[in-house]
């Protein structure tokens, strides 16, 4: 259906790829990555707004590598509202049909259908000024879909929206996409968004897809510490796995965690979700409460250990508040822990750790950026 083969693109010192990707008909594929990872560049390469230096882009079975954007049959919704300000809502949606010289009766018919599907029938004869962000993006979606694209590209389309509009539109997008069965590539930096929408996620970091899988795979088994950080593992700590026979233990300065048999002896990294850290009395690791913050639905607590600090999210249900400076004992729920061996592209220094917003003197490997 859609395929990229060994795509390479360079701008200045940034290199995207070599990158290969294959989508099934009707699949919702999300490219997730931090800003500067090359997400938008990748979409521009697929849409033809940029030309690749090497590699092939195949859309609906045809090699599109040398086609200009207007002949690639893709639809795209951008981050920013890019409705044409001199046209009404109707004329905006009609744009892609009229440039193809479709008869006006067919234009009306198609617009009526797509407007119903996207819930904007009541807006058709309005000017595009004074629309809400959510309305604008619905219209942009209708404008992209009305041309029957074989591939729909969505470049962080919810970014400019407030939370309510975002969640509402997210659900609608999935419904519309399923109903039309249109193959979709969605770009976001937000894992929650990706998880709700996608059949499959590819994590793009520094121009490379470092992991590909279902939202569940990525959530439970992030392949590298950068992926782990993107999906909400607030605690990332380097250490060493020691094996003796069947049993293996991950050790860092403060933490010892039993690991699966598939992790070899050697340097490793542990990812711990903040929800997995809890307080107990007796048998726990000693810690001092360093920060406490009440957040919607949970309390965020930072525990200081001998060598590291751990961030935890405590559900409000328990409602046992702690105070800064208090000495407590904590433990880690192994269901919220994932250990990976260190290898090329996934290394941290000895006992280096990365906490979510925790002030430390440990440096975080920076992402390279691209403008």
């Amino acid at each position: 259906m859609f395929r990229i083969e060994k795509l390479v693109y360079r701008v200045d010192s940034f290199q995207l790829g070599p990158l290969s990707l294959e989508l099934k008909k009707g699949e919702f594929y999300t490219i997730m990555g931090p800003s500067g990872a090359g997400k938008s560049v990748l979409l521009e390469l697929i849409s033809g707004l940029r030309r690749e230096k090497q590699g092939t882009v195949i859309i609906a079975g045809a090699d599109s590598s040398n086609l200009p954007p207007e002949r690639r049959r893709v639809g795209m919704v951008f981050q920013k509202n890019l409705l044409f300000p001199h046209l009404t809502v109707f004329d905006n949606i009609a744009f892609g049909l009229r440039v193809k010289k479709l008869p006006e009766s067919l234009v009306r018919q198609k617009i009526k259908k797509i407007a119903e599907l996207t819930g904007i029938s009541h807006l058709l004869y309005r000017s595009v000024h004074g629309l809400s962000g959510g309305e604008s993006q619905r219209i942009a979606l209708a404008r992209a879909l009305v041309t029957d694209p074989v591939l729909l590209l969505l470049d962080e389309p919810f970014n400019a929206l407030d939370r309510t509009a975002r969640e509402e539109l997210r659900g609608e997008l999935r419904r519309i996409q399923k109903q039309l069965d249109v193959t979709t590539i969605f770009v976001t930096h937000d894992f929650e968004e990706a998880a709700v929408l996608s059949d499959r996620i590819g994590v793009l970091i520094n121009g490379q897809i470092v992991q590909e899988g279902s939202p569940g795979d990525i959530l439970q088994k992030p392949a590298t510490w950068e992926v782990a950080r993107l999906v909400g593992y607030s605690n990332i700590i380097s250490g060493y796995v020691k094996r003796s026979g069947e049993t293996g233990v991950f050790c860092s300065g403060d933490i010892n965690i039993p690991v699966n048999t598939d992790i070899p002896e050697g340097p490793a990294i542990v990812f711990i979700r903040p929800e997995g850290i809890y307080r107990i009395t007796g048998k726990g690791t000693e810690a001092v409460v360093e920060e406490v913050a009440e957040c919607p639905g949970y309390t965020r607590i930072v525990y200081r250990l001998a060598h590291t600090a751990l961030v935890s999210k405590e559900s409000w249900m328990g409602n046992k508040t702690v105070n800064t400076g208090q000495r407590v004992e904590i433990s880690i729920d192994p269901r919220f822990v994932h250990v990976v061996p260190q290898k090329d592209g996934n290394t941290l220094g000895v006992f280096e750790y990365i906490g979510d917003n925790v002030k430390t003197d440990i440096k975080v490997a920076p992402y390279s950026t691209i403008s």
Partner: protein
């Protein structure tokens, strides 16, 4: 909201400080407005309505004003056809020598206009290449309407080109990208998206250029003293008969130009209300 300064004296409130700035700026600004308006107002007021009417009925005066308006219009149309594509390239593409071309576009605005006229004569005069070529087609520049048109074109085209270029630069290139993905060819994008969105800039650029063309004296007089444009006529009456004779002609020219200019402004302003940018 009052402030206390360090030495304990209660300071002026923020609001009255703002008023102070507004007041001083208004006073200073008024000086320049007075300077600009008084001579024109005095010129207009110095004429009795009868004299103005008589002048307006004078064949020579109306012919020269008509000629001036027409020549400026031709110059504006030529500059629009050639200048809009140039402005688009200057705003949208990167190419070697772009800054040099930009500088050349601005050049006519800074050189003395009589010098511009002389320079044009060196190309379009009968003894020179372009002059000879056009002459064979029956188009003469020296002492003829085409000469007036190219003089106006030369000195006032930058106003149009710069204004249109500004319009294209303010246009978000992503709108053009969105149109491409929707299936529009580069030509369709230009006609259906870029051009309609800068039409206000084009209109006001044309208006600026046209007005500047009407007022041109230096370059026009070098190429064509006759047929006489309105500024040349004003000058001639002043030179030959003195202030009293130049005044009514100048007044009629100013009033007519104002009427057209304000009328066009209103049209452009209405467009702007329809298409906020």
């Amino acid at each position: 909201m009052s402030l206390t300064s360090k030495n304990g004296v209660v300071g002026v409130s923020l609001l009255s400080r703002e008023k102070l700035l507004t007041g001083i700026f208004a006073g200073v600004g008024a000086l320049i407005v007075i300077f600009l308006v008084i001579p024109l107002a005095k010129l207009v007021a110095a004429n009795t309505p009868q004299v103005l009417l008589e002048t307006a009925r004078e064949k020579e005066v109306m012919q020269s004003i008509g000629l001036t308006f027409r020549a400026a219009l031709y110059a504006t149309l030529i500059a629009t056809l050639t200048g809009v594509p140039l402005a688009y390239l200057l705003a949208r593409r990167h190419f070697p020598g772009k800054s040099v071309i930009s500088a050349f576009v601005d050049l006519p605005m800074i050189i003395p206009h009589t010098a511009a006229g002389v320079a044009l004569l060196f190309v379009f005069g009968k003894r020179f290449f372009a002059g000879r070529f056009f002459s064979s087609l029956g188009i003469h520049f020296v002492g003829d309407v085409p000469g007036i048109v190219i003089a106006m074109l030369f000195v006032s085209a930058p106003f149009l080109i710069n204004q249109v270029r500004e319009g294209f630069s303010l246009l978000d290139p992503n709108l053009e990208k969105a149109a491409r993905i929707l299936g529009a060819s580069p030509w369709q994008v230009f006609w259906k998206v870029s051009l309609p969105l800068v039409k206000r800039h084009i209109a006001s650029g044309m208006l600026m250029m046209w007005a500047r063309g009407i007022s041109e004296f230096g370059a026009v007089v070098v190429l064509a003293y006759h047929p006489m444009t309105a500024p040349v006529l004003v000058y001639e009456r002043f030179e030959s008969y003195g202030l009293a004779y130049a005044r009514p002609v100048a007044t009629v020219l100013i009033l007519l130009t104002l009427v057209v200019f304000i009328g066009m402004r209103i049209i452009v302003w209405r467009e702007k209300k329809n298409v906020p940018h």
